[in-house]
Structure formats: C-alpha cells, structure tokens
C-alpha cells in the first residue's frame, strides 16, 4: 500500500484552480521528489496532505487514512518542515524545537542534541533573532529528531548554505535507512538527484511526469557529436533521430535513448573517428517539463545554450 496516494485532486481558491486533477503516489521507504515551477501547486498539495486545507474533489490518502478527518492521528506519524519557517518570536530556538517535538508526541533527546551540533545551531538564541537559514534549521531539527514514518518536506533547504545542505542530505539518507518515507518538494536539482528514488513533476496543478530519474532520462534525447571518415548519410531515415546538422565537418544530432543502438549501427559504416554523447542534464529534463513543453528539446539554439551553461 502506498504511503501517499492522491487521485484526481482538485483544489480551488476562489476563482484560481490551484490543483487541477493531480495524481501522486509515494511508496513506503522511498524518497520521492516533488517538483514543479513556482505556483504549480506543490505547497497546496502538501497542505492538503497535512489536513490544513480541504480539497474540492478527488481523493487523498496518507498512511491509509483521510488526512482531513484523521488529521490528529496522522500527525503523530509524520513530521513537516515548511518552506518558509516562522516561529514564536519570543521563544528560544531550543524551546521551539522541544515544543514542536512534544506537540507531535515526543522527541528523541539524544538525536536532538546531535542534530543541533551537526547543524551548528545555537538553541539559546531568541527565534526573533534567527536568520532565514537558522529558522529553517529549527524546523529541520525538530522534524528529524522525532521518530516518525513519514517526513513531509516543503523546500526544506531554502536558505541553507552548501555545508548545511550536505548535512541535510546525510540526515535524509539516515532516515531513509531507518525505513521512513520522505516527500521532498525542492527546486534544488542537485539535491533531488542525490536523494530521490523517484520524482513527480507537476505543472499548473497537474502531474506531467512521474518515475525514477533513469526513467525520466529515458524520455529525453541524448545529444551526439560524431566525426567520421566519410560524410554520413541516411540519418534522417532512422527512427528517433532529430536535428541533424553539419558543423565544421562534424555531425551534430539528438537521439532518443531507445534508438541509440540503430544510430550506432548506422554511424559505424562511415568510419567513426570521434564520438561524444551527452546524456540530458537534469536541468534540461526539468526545463522541458517546467517551460513550454518542447522549447528546450526542439530549439537547437536554446538546447545548445543550456548545455553550454550547465557544463
């Protein structure tokens, strides 16, 4: 049974359709990346999963229960880190962590102290005086020091420095090892690549892609540059090959991963001298889904520019 299952979820705010038939499935024990452009509905989905918002139609189940009706019971089994943490300004960071932990049903003191140290957070400072990153750390420490089955993290690392980002990734691996499930909404692709078993990409309130990173890569073309002894011909007739161009005596083209085999078979006949093949970067992958569907893939100029920019 999936830990989170959402079917055809719809949520409107007044006239705005924030979620428009969203589907999402998160299996037990996986770290699931939840991606999408700004305003695509990630936080809204998460708030519905936490029973904070009521959905209009469709179905959402968390750990087998209805998140709206069974909110309190469910909350004992999950921990939440919001993307923009705000705290009670007159409590200290340590007090805020203990309070959240206790309200959730208890926290592991040893873990708490260890995490404070790892995240280099001074718990005696007033929450009013914390920087954005430090407020984020308070919520992360509070969440990770409770032993729960599901962690719901909404852009948890926004504002963390690279060192802290690394600590965060370690901790996510640790809770995954312990068997917990993680839903991770993030704009940091390196983090997603490092942590996530599977990802779901949403746009304008709908799921546009879902699968493992390898599967998603499969859907995007590989760029190939080949230098041959004799001019290559017959490429246009091959299935899955696109954008063939001659530049300085070399052939540039893009190929769908499923048809790489046929392509190589054809190329080999013209005496291959040099060949580079570039799998799609994560950025390209996402830009393809985030932006206007085809731009990144079909427009060679922009595809080239993006490759140059990300190498």
């Amino acid at each position: 049974m999936p830990v989170i299952s959402i079917d055809n979820l719809v949520k409107t705010f007044g006239g705005i359709r924030a979620l428009d038939g969203l589907d999402l499935r998160v299996e037990a024990g996986e770290v699931h990346g939840f991606l999408g452009p700004n305003g695509s509905g990630k936080s809204t989905t998460i708030r519905i999963l936490l029973g904070l918002l009521r959905h209009d139609s469709g179905e959402a189940r968390v750990l087998g229960a209805d998140p709206w009706r069974d909110a309190v019971r469910l909350h004992r089994r999950l921990a939440y880190v919001p993307g923009d943490v705000s705290l009670w300004p007159n409590l200290s960071g340590g007090e805020a962590i203990d309070l959240f932990g206790e309200l959730r049903g208890g926290l592991d003191r040893r873990r708490r102290d260890e995490l404070l140290q790892r995240f280099d957070l001074d718990p005696t400072r007033g929450c009013r005086t914390y920087s954005k990153g430090n407020r984020q750390k308070v919520a992360i420490v509070a969440a990770f020091s409770s032993n729960v089955e599901l962690y719901v993290l909404d852009e948890p690392t926004s504002g963390l420095d690279p060192l802290m980002e690394a600590v965060f990734q370690d901790e996510v691996r640790r809770i995954k090892q312990a068997g917990a499930t993680v839903l991770l909404s993030s704009h940091v692709l390196a983090e997603v690549e490092a942590l996530c078993d599977r990802v779901s990409i949403i746009r304008e309130g709908r799921t546009v892609e879902s699968g493992s990173l390898a599967e998603l890569r499969h859907l995007t073309r590989t760029a190939v540059i080949v230098e041959t002894a004799r001019p290559v011909t017959g490429l246009d007739a091959l299935p899955g090959v696109h954008d063939v161009r001659e530049v300085d005596g070399r052939t540039h083209l893009e190929v769908e991963p499923a048809h790489l085999d046929e392509l190589l078979g054809q190329l080999i006949r013209f005496g291959v001298r040099a060949l580079t093949s570039t799998p799609p970067t994560l950025e390209q992958l996402f830009l393809r889904h985030y932006g206007d569907e085809r731009v990144a893939a079909d427009d060679p100029e922009s595809a080239e520019a993006q490759r140059a920019g990300t190498r």
């Binding site: 029973g51 918002l53 007159n90 959240f100 959730r104 400072r125």
Partner: protein, 541 residues
C-alpha cells in the same frame, strides 16, 4: 543621498496602505463630533439646564475624573465636557497604533529591510509615518472645527475644541515615535504607548479631581497633575470658556521633542533591533511550556502582567477617590443634593464604584480582543500552520486560547474589583470587606466579556482575514454605545447590541441572575460557532 531621501515616496505608500482607515478616521471624528454637539444642545437647551449641569459637573468628583474640568455654561463647554475625554482617548490610540504600524511593524516583518535596501534614507520611514499621522490629525481637527461650527457652536470655541482633540493626536504621535524605537516588537511598542496614554489619563483625572471650583460653581481650575498629561492639555485650552490658545503649543512641543529623541535613538540602533541587547534564552523547553496551554501562558504572561499593574494602580487610586464623596457630602450638602437628584437617589458612592467597575470591564475588553487575536497573528505569519501539523487538534488549539483569555479576563476583573475595594476600604476602615464585596461585584462583568471573546472567536472562525479589523470595530462600537449612547439618545434597541448594557451595575443596583445567564448563553453560542467554523475552514486562510 540624505537621511530623508525617499520620504515622499514612503509617505505615499503609507497613504495607500491606510487609505480606508484614514478616511474613516478623518471623516468619522467630525461626524461623531457633529452628532454629539447636536444632541447635547438638545438635552441642555437653556441656560438654566446648563447651569445645573455645570454646577453638578464642577462639584462631582466622578464627573471631574471622567469628563474633565467644566469650563462654564456655554453649550460648547457642555459638549466638550461630555465628549472630549472619549474623543481624545480614541485619537490618542489611533495615532499611536498608526505610527507603530508604519515603523516598528515594518521592521518586525522585514518589509522595512526591503525598503531600506532601495533608495531610502535612514530617517525616511519614520518621517513618512509621522507626516501622514500628523496630517491626518490636522485634517480631522479642521473638519471637526467645521462640524462643530456647523452644529451651531461659536467659531472660536469650535476651533479651540478641535485643536484640543487634534493636539492630543499630535502629542501621542510624538510619544509613539519614541516607543517604536525602544521596543523590538510592534506589540511592545503599542503597549508602551498605551501605557503612556493610561498614565496620562490617571494624571489628568487626579489633577482635575484635586482642582479648585470657581466662586460661581460652574468652572474647575485643574490641579498641577493635569498639566503633566497630554490628555489634560486639551482641557486647559478651555474651549468655549475663555480660550487659552497658547496651550496648543504644548502638544506641538511634545511632538518635536519626541521626534528629536526618536531620530537620536534611530541613529544609535540597528535596523530591526531595540535599545536593549537580547539575552541568551533557555536552550531547552521547560516541561510546563511544552503544551498548548503552556505556550498560551508563556505568550500571555507579559501582557497580563502589564495589564495587572495598570489595573491595580488605577483600582487603588479610584477606590481611594471614592471616599471623597463621603467627605464632600458632609461639607457641602447642597452639592450632594444636586448629585443625588442626578443620580436618582441611589447611594452616591455605590453609583461611582459601579461606574468604575463598568469602565474596567470595558477596558479589559481590549485585553480580550488583543489576547484572542494573537492566534490570527500566528495564522497570518505561518506558525499556526506548523502547530496544526502536529498532533494537536484545531479544537484543542483554539479552545486553549479561548480558555487562557477567559482565565486572564477573570483574573483581571477580580484584580480590578479587589484593588478598588482595597483602596476604598483603606480610607473607610474595612479593606478586606470592601475588597471582597467589590471583587465579587466585578466578577459579575465576566459574562459580558465572554460575549466579547465569543465575538472575536466567531469572527476568527468565519472571517479570518477581516477578524482583526472587525473585532476592534466591535469593541469600539460597544465602547461608544456605553459612553456616548445616552448622550446621543440612541434607542434602547441600539444600546442592547452591546453586552455591557445588560450587566447589572452592582453595587449600585442589586445583582440579577437572568441577564448574566443570557449573556453566558450568547457567549457559548458564539464560541461554538467560532470553533466549528475554524474546524471546517482552510488554514492558513
């Protein structure tokens, strides 16, 4: 770039953000003044009636304490006596809240940082806020002068009276400029400024009570404490009773002094910081803190302490003042007779004490609103969402807040009664007995305050985004109905809207059970509506 660069742009921003509030303020004050002037003129149409009013006002210590010193028998003088203190208090609080809102609150929320990074001088945000608030006060005063003249009052007096009210606003604008520098939170800045308003009220009341009555018995010359109070200055202008124009320079002087001090303080501190450096706090949460109730107590205790100190000081002094009635009745049987005629024959001291307790109940209403609106503040800045994502139900969370506010109210009411009784008992010789009697009488006000709590809770559940404005508006309406309803000769049906109308004014009359039970019933219904609506709506909303 100078320290004032960008002031004009920021002032426009303030105007834009507050356009509705400012319009209500600038138009509401003169409209209220017009209505009050008209109705007072109707109640006291001839010289004889006003003569009676003036002598009673001059001889009654209660009237002196709450209406200020009477300045003769002109219709205008009666209008001022009936309305000045209420209008001045409203204007003082409006001005302080407005200044805080556009200075400290911006720093607290980080908006100021965003602005500070653009082309904006160090003093520009403060200056912009002060300019707008002073301009609003001047505009309201100018229209008030027109309104009073339009109601048929003499021109000079109308201008002086309007200037007096506007002056209070201007003076407290200066006070708020300073408190906004001192406190780190807007709540703290407002509380500090409100404390200055309260202190001004007490000083003015004391000075007016201690003052001398003129030979013809229709005028009061205030004692020196009134001169220390910006609220008192308005009375010293003596509108409609031989105007002393130079007194209007006092609020202006206070404004200038306040602004100078505020600039100097702003120079010395960092953006977002106060004047006191933060101390290290506990690294772990104490066991008592770690529950909704513990958190509510932690959040409330500072506020409660402030309220308790204010109420205790006011209670004891008002209690001590009550004994003056006994002395006065012995010394001046004629005045006593006049007051008796006004007071409907009831025991004078009891009438006074009942009025005091009623006033305390009204004031504590502000505590109730403030305490309960905290949860809306938490919702607006996102911390409520994080709290409700833990294993605490919405009912428990909101219920705890309501319970905490109710207990705080109970404690403050009891304290008000006890200290008033204590003050009165200390001079009459039975401190314990009086304290217990008045403590009990004060508790009878609890159901009315629970209705206020119910109104705020229902608004929070049903109309969260509007709840702050609507809650304070509701309290203001209750206040105006209680303080001015009789003067305006409003129909009973209108007065009945306020829960305070239904509280038997013990000890002046015997307690009645039915109205209290009904009030409690209404409160319970409103609370149920609020909690139910909260359980079924989106958070945050």
């Amino acid at each position: 770039m100078t320290a004032l660069t960008g002031t004009r742009r920021l002032a426009r921003l303030v105007l834009r953000r507050d356009r509705i509030r400012l319009v209500i303020w600038v138009l509401g004050t003169p409209l209220l003044g017009y209505a009050l002037a008209g109705s007072v003129a109707g109640i006291y149409p001839d010289e004889a009636a006003r003569q009676g009013y003036a002598t009673t006002s001059a001889s009654s210590l209660v009237a002196r304490a709450f209406n200020g010193p009477i300045a003769g028998t002109d219709v205008g003088a009666v209008v001022v006596a009936e309305t000045y203190v209420t209008l001045a208090l409203i204007v003082a609080l409006l001005s302080t809240f407005a200044v805080t809102r556009h200075t400290r609150q911006n720093e607290e929320t980080g908006r100021a940082e965003l602005l500070g990074a653009s082309v904006v001088g160090r003093y520009a945000p403060l200056t912009a806020a002060l300019l707008v608030v002073v301009a609003a006060n001047l505009a309201a005063a100018a229209l008030l002068a027109v309104a009073l003249t339009g109601a048929g009052l003499p021109l000079a007096g109308s201008v002086a009276a309007a200037g007096a009210v506007g002056g209070v606003g201007v003076a407290f604008t200066g006070v708020a400029a300073v408190t906004a520098q001192v406190s780190v939170t807007s709540r703290g800045a407002n509380a500090l400024a409100a404390a200055v308003v309260g202190l001004s009220f007490v000083l003015r009341a004391a000075g007016d009570v201690l003052g001398d009555t003129s030979a013809d018995g229709t005028r009061v010359e205030s004692g020196w404490p009134s001169w220390l109070s910006p609220l008192g200055w308005g009375n010293q202008v003596r509108a409609f009773g031989g105007e002393r124009w130079w007194v209007l320079a006092l609020p202006v002087a206070l404004l200038l002094a306040g602004v100078a001090l505020a600039y100097a303080l702003a120079e010395r501190r960092d953006q977002g910081a106060g004047l006191v450096a933060p101390r290290p706090k506990p690294a772990t949460g104490a066991a008592w803190l770690l529950s909704p109730a513990g958190l509510a107590w932690r959040m409330q205790r500072g506020t409660l302490l402030g309220w308790a100190v204010g109420i205790a000081v006011l209670g004891v002094s008002m209690g001590v003042a009550a004994d003056e009635f006994n002395a006065m009745i012995e010394q001046n049987p004629a005045a006593a007779e006049a007051i008796n005629a006004m007071g409907g024959g009831a025991d004078l001291v009891d009438a006074y004490l009942a009025a005091m307790l009623g006033l305390f109940a009204l004031t504590i209403g502000a505590y109730v609103v403030q305490a309960l609106l905290r949860i809306r503040g938490d919702e607006a800045d996102g911390v409520l969402e994080a709290a409700l994502a833990t294993a605490v139900s919405r009912t428990r969370w909101l219920g705890t807040q309501v319970l905490a506010a109710a207990l705080g109210t109970l404690a403050l009411l009891l304290l008000a009664g006890l200290t008033t009784g204590l003050g009165y008992g200390l001079v009459t010789g039975d401190p314990l007995g009086e304290a217990i009697a008045l403590g009990g009488a004060a508790l009878l006000r609890l159901p009315a305050l629970l209705v206020v709590a119910g109104v705020v809770t229902a608004l929070f559940g049903l109309l969260p985004r509007r709840s702050v404005v609507l809650s304070w508006t509701a309290l203001l309406v209750f206040l105006l109905l209680g303080q001015l309803g009789a003067v305006l000769e409003l129909p009973q049906a209108a007065l009945n809207v306020s829960p305070y109308t239904h509280v038997p004014s013990v000890p002046a009359v015997d307690p009645a059970v039915l109205p209290l039970v009904l009030l409690a019933g209404v409160a319970a219904a409103l609370l149920t509506v609020g909690v139910t609506a909260f359980r079924h709506r989106d958070v945050p909303s």
